[in-house]
Structures are given as C-alpha cells and as structure tokens.
C-alpha cells in the first residue's frame, strides 16, 4: 500500500484523536494540527490524482476485518478515477473550511472540540470514498453520520441544535435500513462484499429473480433500490430530506462541509460507484430519475420563500443534489459526479459567504434585517455574486457546464422519465436563478433594514475568512473547465477521465439538440435572474402582492409543505403512543405483569382455602378419607 494513500485518511484520524484528547490544553492553538493534517491530505490527494491520471490504480487490502465462515471482508483501499476526484473534492473543501473556521469560531467555547470533529468528519468521508468494499463504505457512511451528529449538535445546550443532530442521525438510519438490506442481498447474490469481484461479475445477476415472501423480485432492481434508500437518506432526497435543512443548526462552516463535500455527496457517490448494478435495472433508473425530479422541484419551491439565509441555501442543496440523482437516473453518472464537483465549490462558497455575513451581522440570519451590505463587505459581496452566478447556470461559470450536461443527458436518455426530468430540471434552473438572486439582492442591495447597533458593527470579515472565499470563488468560476462540452469547443475531458469507472452515458444528444437545450436552460436562468431583479429591486411591493394573491401556495412553501408536521403526526406521535399506551401500559403492565404477579397470588389464595380443610377435627378428616376411597374405587371400576 503506497504511503501517500494511507496518509490521506489516517492523518486526519490522528489529528482527531490528538486534538480531542489534548486540544483543551492547547487552547487557541488547537487548530494547527487539524489544518496541517488536512492540508497534507490534500497534497497527497493531488498526488494520488496525478498517479491515477498516469494510469496507476490501487486496490489493496490492509487486513481482514471480519471473517466468519465463508464470509470475509477486509479493510482495504481502492484508488481509481472516481475515488481520486472525490478525494480532491473532500480534502480541498475541507481544508478551506478548516482555515475559515479559525476566524469564524474564534473565541467560541469548545474551539478544540470543533476542530477535532472537523478532522473526524474528514476522516470518515475519506474512508467512505477510499474503501474497496461495501462494508468499509458503510463504516465511513455511519462515521460521517456520527460526525454530523456531533457537529450539528455542536451547540448542544441549545435544544434545537441537539434535536437537529439527533434528527440527522435517525433520519439517516431510515435510509441505512434499506442500505444494509441491500448489502445482504448483494452478499447473498455474489458471496462477497468487495467491489471488484462484484462489478466484474455483475452480469450474472442480470435477468435473475428471487422470491421473497411469495413475491418475485427482479434482483438488480431490488439491490439498486435498497442501495438507493441509503443514498436518499445521506443525500437528503424526498422523503428523507428533512434532516438537511435542520442541519444548519450547526456552526456555519459545518453546513458548508456537510452540504458541499463530506456528507450529502456520499449518496451520489454510492450510486455512481455502483453504476454497473444500477445500469442493469431500467425500473430503478426510472425511479431514481423521478425521485430526483420531484425532489428538485419540491426543494426549489421551498427555497423561493424562506427568509433565513442559511435555509435558502440549504434547500438549494437538496434541489441541486436532486440534479445529480437525475443524472445518475438517466445513466449519465459522470455528469452527476461533475455536478457534484462544481456544486461543491459554489455551495461551499455560498455557505461560507453566509457565514461571513452572519459574522458581520452579529449572528443575525434573517434576511429581513439585512440589505445594502455591499458597501460594508465588498469581498463577501463579490464572491457571493460569483457563487450565485455559478449556481444560476450563467454561461462560463462552473454550474453552467455541469447543469447543462445533466439536462442534455436527461433529454436524450432512453430512460423513460428522462424527458420529464429534463422539463423539471429546466424549470428548476429558472427557479434556482430566481431564489439565488432574490437572496443575493435582499442581502447586498437596497437599504439596510437592521438595527442601528448592527449597522455600527458592520464590517468585512477578517482575512482568514475572506481568503477561503476568494479561493472557493476561483473554483466556483473555473471548476467547469474540466468538462467543457464538445459542442462549444471543449473536449469533454471529464467524461473521458471517468469513463473507466462510470462508463459512457446511455445516449448522447446531437450537437444541434444540445445547443438548443443549452439556450433554453440559459434563458430560463436569465429569466429567473430578471424576475428576481424586477421583484426585489425594481418593484419591491411585488412579492407581497403575489403572496397575498396566492396565500395557500405561499404558506405551503413557507412552511416547507408541512413535511415535518406530517412526519410528527404519522411517525413520531404514533410511535410514542404505541410505546407508552399500547406496549408499556397495556402489554407489559396490564397483561404480562398481571399474569406474572397473578400466579403467585392465585397460589396464595388456593393454599389459603386448602388450609381451611386442615381444621384439626378428626371427623372431618375421616369424611375426606372415606370420600377419597370411594372416589378411587369408582375410578378403578370405570377404568376397568
């Protein structure tokens, strides 16, 4: 095993353990080790990337983790094209978030704890992408869940934060439920959990069925959908999206890390990694495409009306992740991973920009109290603008290339739901541009709406915060350059690079179609930006008139379609009722305990009444004896 590959995950692990144990004593200096560790990992990741580019792959076991009977799973690393890209995304974003946190978390209680958790998060995600088998993926998967639990609930004394952390973990467990069953089915089909033999022999499950409780299932569909359950949890797709918007209870750098690099991308990565299995099942692909499309629209409509700046960005993540699933669903895995890559930079930038604004506004997150911040925070302003342009898909920016690729692939795809996904995707492209610029304009333009005290304190964030913003802005602008489509003079490097792992897209549109589609989606984006400008700059009364004209729709969107309330009503409340009233009070106490305590009581009563027979009167005893003798004689006679 090459050393640089070991360094990538294990240095952050060491940094976690060391900082967690001794960080308290290091006080304000506790960030040095985590930053050094993640930067070293980043350098090694770059090195690994170039190794892969030169055709060097690694698939090696460290040691056998679990072996029982014929089952054996190792801890081992796989370095291929997909891994190398993920390594870059994770370590680069993580490095910048680490550095940014030095400024953002300054003076907070538990400063060292925060940095140690960041290292743990990085380690977990790196183990997830580096594993050469499903069980190690699951290790990273759950470890990522743990890290998010710790970081979302970082301000644990706040009940809402503790709730949000717990919610993230438990909602993800619902997804894991499907995921782990998927692993069992894979094991039952292939007799191993290691990628290489599974993907090499994947054709053997094609056309196979299995019987489950009398029903017959198409094996690839079953495996793919069970794995997708896990992906829905981690990547916050409907109906398991509810944890992600709440996750903003964590400190803002954590949101950036979760939304951009370390957690939500895991689901997309899983689907991309397992593409040979998904490709076998048209049904599964259709379902993924539809789930992606619905989530995409659903989240975007919520983002339209939210007033908490982090919440808007959070829902935009759900919506953007849905694009990635649409890509996977239509069989264009490399387009999905491409969007994952570009999204990581502009989304991290948006979140860190929000963090910078929140710092400037003294922990105010309501857009209602902002406005006109442009002149106070110029660097934040410009970088935020670039990120907004990128997410809106303005030509030339990173988001444009990846989103257009997805829409083109969806349109051309043989997967039935492809056209539907294209339509939704284009619609949402317009909505995305609208809500992004709505947010942008409300924050930076117009008059300042906060208190005078807030106004007096407004100033640009320190360099340790702004430099990561600038670096991310470079990514948000330029990350698309790796995959410029052929039709506008590029050479589609991205797809070629990932081809050995992700294969070709199922179908390509013709160049003419691609150009037309591009024009349509760009116009949708432009219209969104124009509308945002019209509604929030030109004609600030418009939003209110619209919301008053359609109060139902407005309320639905503002209250996030009441999904949390519905879950509370359908799952949480019934479970607690079942627990308290049915199982505990009825079964356990009223039935089982009554029987258990009843038997001794019954015996006690019985012996009490028997005792009365022994009253010491000889005549009574004589009578019992005679009665008994007569009974025995009769019995013997009858039997004979």
């Amino acid at each position: 095993m090459p050393t640089y590959l070991l360094i990538i995950p294990f240095l952050p692990l060491f940094s976690f353990v060391f900082t967690f144990l001794f960080g308290k004593r290091m006080g304000d200096n506790s960030h040095w080790l985590p930053i050094a560790a993640v930067l070293t990992s980043f350098s090694c990741a770059l090195y690994a990337f170039f190794q892969v580019k030169n055709g060097y792959h690694v698939n090696q076991d460290l040691y056998i983790w679990i072996s029982s009977g014929s089952m054996s799973v190792s801890v081992g690393f796989l370095l291929d094209e997909l891994t190398s890209v993920m390594l870059i995304v994770v370590t680069s974003i993580s490095s910048l978030v680490h550095i940014y946190s030095v400024g953002y978390m300054k003076g907070e209680d538990g400063y060292y704890r925060f940095f140690s958790y960041l290292s743990l998060f990085t380690f977990s995600m790196l183990m997830l992408v580096l594993g050469n088998n499903f069980l190690q993926l699951f290790f990273g998967w759950e470890a990522v869940g743990l890290s998010s639990y710790l970081l979302i609930g970082f301000y644990y004394e706040k009940k809402s934060a503790a709730d949000a952390g717990k919610k993230a973990f438990i909602v993800n467990r619902f997804g894991d439920f499907g995921f782990i069953l998927g692993l069992f089915l894979i094991y039952a089909s292939f007799g191993t959990l290691h990628y290489e033999p599974i993907f090499a022999n994947v054709n053997q499950i094609a056309n196979q069925t299995f019987t489950f409780l009398g029903t017959t299932w198409y094996l690839p569909t079953a495996i793919a959908l069970l794995l997708f359950c896990g992906a829905m949890g981690k990547s916050a797709q409907l109906p398991l999206h509810v944890w992600l918007p709440d996750a903003m209870e964590g400190p803002t750098p954590v949101s950036a890390l979760i939304h951009a690099a370390t957690m939500v991308t895991a689901g997309v990565f899983l689907v991309a990694r397992c593409n040979p299995i998904f490709t076998l099942s048209m049904t599964a692909l259709n379902i993924i495409t539809i789930v992606g499309s619905i989530t995409c629209l659903f989240a975007a409509t919520i983002a339209l009306t939210q007033t908490d700046i982090k919440r808007v960005v959070a829902y935009s993540t759900v919506s953007q992740l849905a694009y990635m699933f649409i890509a996977c669903g239509v069989g264009a895995y490399s387009a999905g991973v491409f969007h994952l890559f570009t999204h990581a930079y502009f989304k991290a930038l948006l979140f860190l920009g929000c963090g910078s604004i929140i710092l400037g506004m003294h922990h105010e997150q309501e857009v209602k109290y902002m406005g006109g911040l442009k002149k106070y925070m110029p660097i934040t302003y410009w970088t935020f603008l670039l990120a907004s342009l990128s997410i809106s898909g303005v030509p030339g920016f990173a988001g444009f290339f990846s989103k257009d690729e997805i829409l083109a692939m969806a349109f051309a795809s043989p997967v039935g739901a492809g056209k539907f996904a294209w339509f939704i995707g284009t619609l949402v492209a317009g909505m995305t541009a609208f809500y992004s610029f709505r947010l942008f304009l409300l924050i930076f333009h117009g008059e300042f709406r906060g208190t005078d005290k807030q106004k007096a304190h407004l100033k640009e964030s320190p360099k340790v915060v702004t430099i990561p913003l600038i670096l991310l802005a470079v990514g948000a602008v330029a990350a698309g350059n790796f995959g410029i489509p052929v039709v506008i003079g590029g050479d589609a490097n991205w797809g070629h690079f990932l081809e050995p792992v992700l294969g070709h897209a199922l179908a390509h549109p013709s160049h003419a179609t691609e150009l037309i589609l591009m024009i349509i989606s760009v116009s949708a984006g432009a219209f969104g930006i124009f509308l945002a400008w019209k509604m929030y700059m030109k004609n600030p009364e418009m939003p209110r008139t619209i919301s008053e004209r359609y109060p139902m729709l407005y309320k639905l969107s503002l209250n996030k379609y009441y999904v949390d309330e519905i879950y509370d009503f359908l799952i949480v409340k019934p479970a607690l009722f079942l627990s308290r009233n049915v199982i505990l009070n009825f079964f356990d106490i009223a039935v089982i305990e009554r029987i258990v305590n009843g038997i001794p009581k019954l015996i006690g009563q019985l012996s009490g009444s028997m005792r009365k027979m022994q009253d010491g009167l000889v005549s009574h005893y004589l009578a019992y004896m005679c009665g008994g003798t007569v009974f025995i004689i009769i019995w013997m006679v009858v039997r004979a």
């Binding site: 983790w65 679990i66 072996s67 029982s68 009977g69 014929s70 089952m71 069980l135 759950e142 470890a143 743990l146 609930g153 644990y156 004394e157 706040k158 009940k159 503790a162 709730d163 717990k166 973990f169 438990i170 467990r173 619902f174 439920f177 782990i180 069953l181 069992f184 089915l185 094991y187 039952a188 089909s189 292939f190 007799g191 290489e196 090499a200 022999n201 994947v202 053997q204 069925t209 299995f210 489950f212 094996l219 040979p276 490709t279 069989g331 050995p500 792992v501 294969g503 070709h504 199922l506 179908a507 479970a575 607690l576 079942l578 627990s579 308290r580 199982i583 356990d588 089982i592 258990v596």
Partner: protein, 519 residues
C-alpha cells in the same frame, strides 16, 4: 494430569471471598483492597487460557474429570471449548469493574458485599466450565443466591419486591430444567455427561418436551419475551455492581444454555422450533426497543434495551448458520461489555445525583465532558456504529439471519432505527439540552472511575476493529455445533431463492464493466 486451572479459577474467588471473613468488619479499606487483589489475580489467571487454547479443535480443553457422586454417575467434569472460553475472562473482568464501581457507593455491610461478589464470580465461572449437566445445575442455582442478596440487601427502595421476583422467576424456570435434566439422565443411559448425551438420538417427542423444559430456564434468564418483566425491576433496584454483573454475565447464561445444552442434545427439536424461537426473538427486539421510548427511568430504559439486544443474540443463535451463530456469541460478549459499561456509567452518575429520573438531568456534558465522551462511546456501541463492537455482532447476526430467512432480517433491522432513536434521545436528555442548574457543582469523573471505564473502551474498539481475534476462538466449535444441529458445518445455507449460487466460481473474466447500451 495437567494443572487444574479451571478449578483454580472457580475456587480462587470462592475461597478468597471466604478469606475476607478473616478481615475485621471495621477495616473496610483492607476488605476492598483484598477483594480487588483477588479479582485482579483471577483475571491474570484467565489469560493463560486464551493463549494456550487450541483453536483447531472443538473438543473440550483444560479438562478435569473426577467421580463425584458415583451412585448417579455424577462427575466433577470441567472443560471449555470455543463457545465458553471467552466468557471466563469476561466474567473476571466484569467482577473487577464491579468491585471498582462499588468502592464508595456501598456503605453498609461492605465486607459481606464483596464476599457476595466473589462467590458470584466463582459460580459464574463454574457455569461456563461445567461439562456435567448436574454440576452445571449446581453452579446455576448457586449463582442465584449471591445475586438475590446483591439486589435484596444493597438494592434500592423497592428491592425486596425486585429480589423476590427475580428469584421466583428464575427458580420456576430452573425447576423445569431440573425435571428435564433428570429425564435426560434416565432416557440417556444414566449419565450427566453432556458430550455423551449429545451423541444420543432421543425420540423427537422427548426432544420437544425437553426443549421447552430447558426453554423455561434459559428464556427467563436471557430474558426472552414474554418472560422478561423481572429484568427491569431487578436492574432498577440492584446496586450499580449488581446491574453490571446482571447485564454483563448473568443474562448471557440463558443464551449460553441454549448453545451448550438445547442445541447439541436436542438437535431435531432445535431445528423444528427454529421458527417460534426466531419469532420470539423478533418480538423481543421490536417490543423491547419500542418500549424504551416510553421509559422515564434511566436504568429501566437500559434494562429494556437489553431485552431488545438479547433478542438479537437469540435471533443469531436460532438462525442456525455460521455468521448468525458466531455473531450471536460475539454479541453476548458485546452486550456484556457495552451494557455493562452503560450501567457502570449510570452507577457513577447516580452516586452524584441520587436520581434515576431522566427528566432530572440535562446539559451534563458541560460539567462532565469526560464522562459525556465515555457515555457517548457506549451509546454509539449500543446502537451498533461501525468501528465499535456492537456493529460486528449485529451485522453478522443480521447477515446470517438474512441468509436463513430474509424477512426475519428485514424485521430485525428495524431494531437499528429504534435503537438509535431511544439511545440518542436518552443521551440528549441527559447530556445535551440546557444545563440543569441543579448539577452546576457536579464532579467530573475521578481517576478510579476513568480506570474503571477504560477497559470497556479498549474492548469496544478492539472487538470493533479486530473482531477476528475473538471470532477465531469460535470458528471450529461453532461449525461443530452447527453440524450437530443441521448436519451441515455452515448451518442453513441460504433461504434466499437465488438462481445465482456459485456465481463467482463460474465467472472468470477479470475486471470488466458492463457494456452499457449505446445509442
């Protein structure tokens, strides 16, 4: 004749306990130190077992065999195999931790308390070493007495009720087992040697009756649903050490009984009763988990969570294949470690707060960060986070039962969700949320307490990351057991009706990705 190490292990704590009587009652310090030394020495003595154990045979090792009551062919017959060996060091370790956690919390009849602990240890190890069924029964019942005293004398306010309930529940079960043992003796050729008994073919009808007679004893001990209701009472009223040893070792005896007696001696009955046992286990998992959501008492919650976790253990044992049974045995150890650790932690915090009500807590992480970290780790191990020991056991059990009956694994896996829900909710209510000002002056763990918890931390990670070092001990014994029960050393191979059975053998095409449909 080799060195009688098993006898040493059984009688060292017994005589050590009796020797404590030699120390004056007032000299509490010496009593404690002496008890600690004895228990430490005991642990050291168990280590040679681990090193000298031959992992390549299922035969009993370190055997000691002497005639005892010749009239009934009762022998003093000791030996261990891959199924029992691991519980001996675990018992020794748990006893040490129990002694440490009771250091200051036991204030009355201190000397007697430590004597009871040591006697209990001897009896527990005796149970795991017995190869003679009658001898086993003696140790089995002998365990009951010190445990009864631990709850009844040093327990909480409602201790008499709890102790009596515990005693009667287990006694009723044990008596049925005794009848079963005598039946076996008569029908099996006048012997109590379980190795000989396992060789015989009892008629199926006899096997079924005996199976349920043993079930009465073992299911109560596990405890399986619906005979679990003694456990919450016993746990809540027992002192910390009592809860720890109960969760750590005592309730493992039931599952051990199934493995050691029911399965090899009554193989046909075991196969026939597989389904009912799986269903009872599933009910235990789900019922025990859901009921935790309604608990307001810290110890009761963990007690019910034991019902759920032990449901996983019996599920694994009765799913009858290599992964599930090995997972089941491993999960017995894991549950001992993790739930033992949770009860140790609860004991430490109870010593400070004197309340078990969950709602009395809140924000403890602020004033006890070290304790919060320990408890978080135990919580995570309890919910089966990969990297901790809990995951390995649950994974193997679920995988194995999936191979036997997929729907069983489907239902059991829901335990993963419920488990995370109640454990994290519990953790939140104790350690997170706004700080309850009542505990502003609460003391962080001291060195003794940290040292008490450390062994558990090491075991959690050790088993979580290197489970093979533990699983290696059981492979041969488990496959022998499975061939006794099912006739196949791998057990029940696959209930998943897949057409792909030997996919990998027929395939030989190297890494090559599916050619996708091109346009």
């Amino acid at each position: 004749m080799s060195f009688p190490i098993l006898s040493l292990l059984i009688f060292l704590p017994v005589f050590g306990g009796i020797a404590l009587l030699g120390i004056s009652k007032e000299n509490i310090k010496n009593v404690k130190v002496m008890a600690l030394i004895i228990s430490l020495f005991e642990l050291v003595c168990t280590l040679p077992l681990l090193f000298a154990f031959d992992k390549t045979t299922h035969a009993m090792q370190f055997v000691e065999r002497h005639d005892w009551i010749k009239l009934f062919n009762i022998e003093y017959y000791l030996g261990i195999d891959g199924i029992s060996i691991l519980f001996i060091p675990l018992s020794a370790l748990i006893t040490i931790l129990c002694i440490l956690v009771s250091w200051n919390s036991i204030q009355t009849k201190v000397r007697e308390f430590f004597i009871a602990m040591l006697l209990l240890e001897g009896a527990m190890i005796g149970v795991f070493c017995s190869v003679d069924f009658f001898l086993f029964y003696i140790f089995w019942e002998a365990m009951l007495i010190p445990m009864f005293l631990l709850i009844g004398v040093w327990g909480g306010p409602n201790r008499i009720y709890a102790a009596t309930k515990f005693f009667l529940y287990t006694l009723v079960g044990s008596l049925l087992m005794l009848v079963g043992i005598i039946t076996l003796y008569i029908k099996g050729g006048n012997t109590f040697d379980i190795l000989v008994l396992a060789e015989q073919n009892f008629p199926v009808k006899t096997q079924l009756i005996l199976f349920w007679a043993f079930f009465a004893a073992f299911a109560v001990k596990v405890p399986m649903w619906p005979v679990h209701t003694w456990l919450p009472d016993a746990h809540t009223e027992a002192p910390a050490a009592g809860s720890v040893v109960l969760a750590g070792i005592l309730i493992k005896m039931g599952a051990y009984g199934f493995l050691r007696f029911s399965m090899p001696i009554l193989p046909e009955a075991t196969s026939m009763m597989m389904m009912p046992m799986l269903v009872l286990s599933l009910i235990g998992i789900v019922y025990g988990g859901i009921i935790c959501l309604a608990q307001t008492d810290l110890k009761r919650l963990i007690a019910y969570s034991s019902v759920s976790h032990m449901g996983f253990v019996t599920l694994g044992i009765f799913a009858l294949n290599t992964q599930s049974v090995e997972g089941g045995i491993l999960q017995m150890i894991n549950h001992g470690v993790v739930t033992g650790a949770l009860f140790l932690g609860i004991g430490m915090v109870y010593e400070r707060t004197h309340t078990r009500k969950i709602s009395d807590y809140g924000g403890l992480a602020t004033n006890m960060p070290i304790f919060a970290s320990f408890f978080l780790l135990f919580t995570l191990a309890s919910v089966g986070l990969p990297g901790t020991n809990g995951f390995i056991g649950e994974f193997l059990i679920l995988l194995g039962s999936f191979m036997t009956r997929p729907w069983v694994a489907l239902i059991a896996a829901s335990g993963l969700i419920i488990g995370a829900w109640y454990m994290l909710w519990l953790y939140q209510r104790i350690f997170f949320n706004p700080v309850n000002s009542k505990w502003d002056a609460i003391k962080e763990l001291d060195m003794r307490e940290i040292m008490t918890l450390m062994p558990m931390v090491i075991l959690i990670f050790w088993i979580g990351l290197f489970p093979n070092t533990i699983l290696d001990y059981m492979h041969v014994s488990v496959s022998h057991l499975l061939s006794q029960v099912t006739g196949n050393p791998e057990g029940i191979a696959s209930g998943v009706q897949l057409a792909v059975n030997h996919a990998l053998e027929t395939a030989n095409q190297g890494v090559q990705h599916v050619q996708q449909i091109s346009h």
